[in-house]
């Protein structure tokens, strides 16, 4: 049985879905909720919490609540210092390559480690549901994520012990989940408007007979629902008497943010919302706000969606009239103000029949199933969101792979030597749309040496850019004039080395006793299920080898283990696994004996033991 999953690693919430033989489904917690808050809490008393637990504790306890860390994936400390958010996190002395947060217990954590913990929690949810280890995962990323952000996401997957089958763009995943289900939309061009908690993507796709081709994509990796919350939270803090949120207690900031978020969500269904915010040490705030007033307040945030929409439509060469529809994805598209923007910009009503929270995870699950050999009539053809180039004379960028090129992709360009007897050539690999190197993101610098001395302009070096299906880049340079080749291969350098990933794995074991406990519980449950299944199978096949009393005793212990498996005591699970082993020992011996007489039975016995 294949156990591949799709994971939507979101800014605010993350989800996991699976698509086995049949339709894809989102895996839910005990309350039937598919959402897992992408939140971690590090309390004073030393205990950490993830997900819903983290959110609840942060409202009552002092400690470090880390939210929306997806904003910092693949970013240096510089980006975090500039973050416009309410700074309830504490930055540790990080480096240029990676943000580091200081948390209770005198520890530091990176966005990659936190993402890995969310991924591990979702992996555990899936393993419990599917009754076995997850064999592979497709993890979604915002379409507009650059190379560093994608690499960081892949590292988080590795750190969580996942076999990452693919990084998939969120709007593309959503389009697949939406389009495959609705054959009436076949053969058209669609826009996916994806406004999540912290990121914004807009993609234009063509669907045709199971093929989903991305024509163009654009976005803003620092724009999302969080920004709407912030505007409202700042207003509440101002009303309560604090003009500058800097230096305010963290509990207070968390409360303001929670009040803002709740109010924002109520505006999706209500015209007037009464907002109550009664912080300790501040003026109590009680105000009624109309939806119209809210719209005016958040308009500056919403206006930032416009330029990416224009860019994607221009690059696709389409106008609103050419579209079959606009699909809304991401919780923030529930806001009426966002829907009004979509209606106005594209000149049509958005399609509302998709679940904006779940389509991304479902699409990722479908792709995971395809990539692990599932028989599905579909194919996703994604693009790179940002141009990749090389620095040339005068600090100007020469684009080698332009944005919106289908991936995987490969492109080559040739350089000639510029000095007599030149034996080396320096390369600077950049990503971005601007002409000047300093306005683009630097990915890597490398030097090709060993070029045989020649007259200027004679030596030729061929540079190849290869983008893999995850949108990750490898650059190779080769000297071609003399037939002798000197070549060098670089991968952009901000990613983690395998050794660093291993070190992080060791570190996370030290500080996650609670994790260990829950992992042992899950392993126990998985093992219990395996034994229960095997016992039942053996009873079905060879039950006749047992007397009625023997059979009843095996069935009793099996039933007890079944009950224990669904409770939380792993020691009880272990005890009953041993008991069932003991109760079936004689049965196994008889089956073994029978198998010597009948080689055909070999198969089922091997499964049993």
């Amino acid at each position: 049985m294949e156990r591949a999953v799709g994971i939507d690693l979101g800014t605010t919430y993350s989800l996991v879905a699976t698509a086995g033989k049949g339709a894809a489904r989102v895996l839910r917690d005990a309350n039937g909720d598919g959402r897992f808050p992408s939140a971690a809490f590090f309390g004073r008393n030393g205990k950490d919490a993830l997900g819903w637990d983290a959110l609840h504790r942060a409202e009552h306890e002092d400690g470090d609540l880390l939210l929306s860390i997806k904003r910092f994936m693949g970013r240096g400390a510089h980006a975090a210092r500039q973050d416009p958010g309410l700074r309830s996190f504490r930055l540790a002395a990080g480096d240029d390559r990676m943000v580091r947060f200081h948390v209770e217990g005198d520890r530091t954590v990176t966005p990659i480690e936190l993402s890995a913990r969310y991924l591990a929690a979702l992996k555990a949810r899936a393993e419990q549901d599917l009754g076995g280890p997850v064999t592979g995962a497709v993890i979604t990323v915002p379409a507009y994520f650059d190379d560093a952000q994608r690499q960081a996401t892949k590292d988080a997957g590795k750190l969580a012990g996942l076999n990452v089958l693919r990084l998939l763009a969120e709007p593309t995943a959503a389009a697949v989940a939406y389009g495959l289900d609705r054959p009436e939309h076949d053969n058209g061009r669609y826009v996916v408007f994806d406004l999540g908690g912290g990121t914004f993507d807009v993609s234009v796709l063509a669907f045709e007979r199971g093929v989903f081709q991305v024509l163009a994509t654009s976005g803003d990796t620092a724009l999302g629902g969080d920004d709407f919350d912030l505007v409202l939270a700042r207003m509440l803090l101002r009303d309560a008497g604090w003009d500058d949120p800097a230096g305010l207690p963290r509990v207070l900031l968390n409360q303001a943010r929670a009040a803002a978020k709740a109010a924002k969500e109520r505006f999706s269904t209500e015209e007037r919302v009464e907002i109550v915010f009664a912080p300790e040490g501040g003026r109590p705030v009680r105000r009624t706000m109309t939806r119209q007033e809210f719209h005016v307040l958040v308009d500056p945030v919403l206006r930032r969606c416009r330029a990416p929409c224009e860019a994607a439509m221009r690059d696709a060469g389409l106008t609103g009239a050419d579209l079959g529809g606009v699909i809304l994805v991401g919780g923030s598209t529930r806001m009426p103000v966002v829907r009004a923007f979509v209606r106005e910009f594209f000149g049509r009503e958005p399609l509302l029949d998709a679940n904006p929270d779940e389509v991304v995870a479902v699409g990722a699950a479908l792709q995971a199933d395809l990539l692990s050999g599932g028989d599905r009539d579909m194919l996703l053809l994604d693009v790179t969101p940002l141009s990749l180039g090389v620095e040339t004379m005068g600090g100007v960028v020469d684009k080698i792979i332009p944005r919106n090129t289908s991936i995987p992709a490969r492109a080559r360009t040739t350089f000639t030597t510029y000095a007599d007897g030149q034996t080396g050539m320096d390369f600077h690999v950049v990503q971005g749309e601007r002409e000047k190197v300093e306005d683009c993101k630097s990915l890597a610098r490398f030097k090709l040496s060993g070029i045989p001395p020649m007259a200027a302009g004679i030596g030729r070096v061929e540079v190849t850019y290869a983008l893999d299906a995850d949108g990750l880049l490898t650059v190779t340079a080769r000297e071609t004039t003399t037939g002798r080749t000197a070549s060098v291969e670089v991968k952009p350098s901000y990613g983690l080395t395998d050794a660093e990933v291993e070190q992080m794995l060791v570190d996370s074991m030290d500080f996650a006793e609670q994790d260990m406990e829950s992992r042992l519980l899950i392993e126990g449950r998985v093992e219990a299920q395996r034994i229960i299944d095997a016992t039942r199978k053996a009873l079905r096949e060879d039950g006749a080898m047992l007397s009625a009393a023997e059979r009843r005793s095996v069935e009793d212990v099996t039933a007890q283990l079944e009950v224990a498996k669904n409770a939380r005591d792993r020691h009880e699970i272990t005890r009953l696994i041993d008991a069932l082993d003991h109760a079936t020992a004689e049965f196994a011996r008889r089956r073994m004996g029978a198998s010597i007489q009948s080689a055909l039975k070999d198969h089922s016995i091997r499964e049993f033991t």
């Binding site: 007979r209 990539l371 289908s406 992709a409 490969r410």
Partner: protein, 204 residues
């Protein structure tokens, strides 16, 4: 016609990416043109829709994501064919690159240098664009329509050669080289003129 590397059947990997005998994916023959890669007839007159449709159809047949359970050998072929497919699609989607591909197929290497009158023209236009936004906007229009006129010309002349089955006749294709070079210079100028406008908007 080549032999299938999997089962030795005789195959045509351009017309049909999979072997008729064993259904396995076939490697592209050496020297396949971008048209071959997409499974399209050699022609200048291809619409963006037709190119996208061929790209999707071929991708479904050759993409490694569709071959998760295939042999390593077949998957390597799939990776190669998909890379070639992406490149061919990108080449033919761009009218200038498509024209250059047709020249190359005929064995024609165009002279990339502009003739002196064209160069003088280009320099003069760039100087005039410095006079102000209104002048520049007018020039964008003017250069854009000059370029469109040249493209129509190019389409007509390639069309004639195609009807007369002379697309591979170097002597007949060669005169189009200068026309293609002219289009490329105008495109560069046109983009630069528009780029300045975009820049001005950002500054506001």
């Amino acid at each position: 016609m080549t032999k299938c590397p999997h089962c030795d059947a005789t195959t045509d990997p351009v017309a049909e990416p999979r072997c008729q005998g064993c259904r396995a994916l076939l490697p592209l023959p050496a020297g396949a043109s971008p048209f071959d890669v997409l499974g399209l007839p050699t022609s200048y007159a291809l619409t963006a829709e037709a190119l996208d449709a061929a790209f999707r159809r071929r991708s479904m047949a050759v993409h490694p994501d569709r071959l998760a359970r295939a042999s390593d050998k077949e998957r390597r072929i799939a990776v190669e064919r998909t890379a070639a497919l992406t490149e061919a699609h990108r080449t033919l989607r761009d009218v200038e690159a498509r024209a250059l591909a047709l020249l190359r197929l005929a064995g024609v290497t165009p002279d990339h240098r502009a003739d002196p009158t064209l160069l003088a023209d280009l320099m003069e236009t760039r100087e005039r664009a410095e006079q102000g936004d209104d002048v520049r906007r007018a020039l964008v229009e003017q250069v854009g329509s000059a370029r469109a006129g040249l493209l129509t010309d190019l389409e007509r002349r390639f069309g004639e050669l195609e009807r007369e089955q002379a697309l591979r006749d170097a002597a007949r294709v060669a005169p189009l080289g200068a026309l293609v070079t002219r289009v490329r210079y105008l495109t560069r100028l046109w983009e630069d003129l528009q780029g300045q406008r975009e820049h001005a908007v950002h500054v506001q």
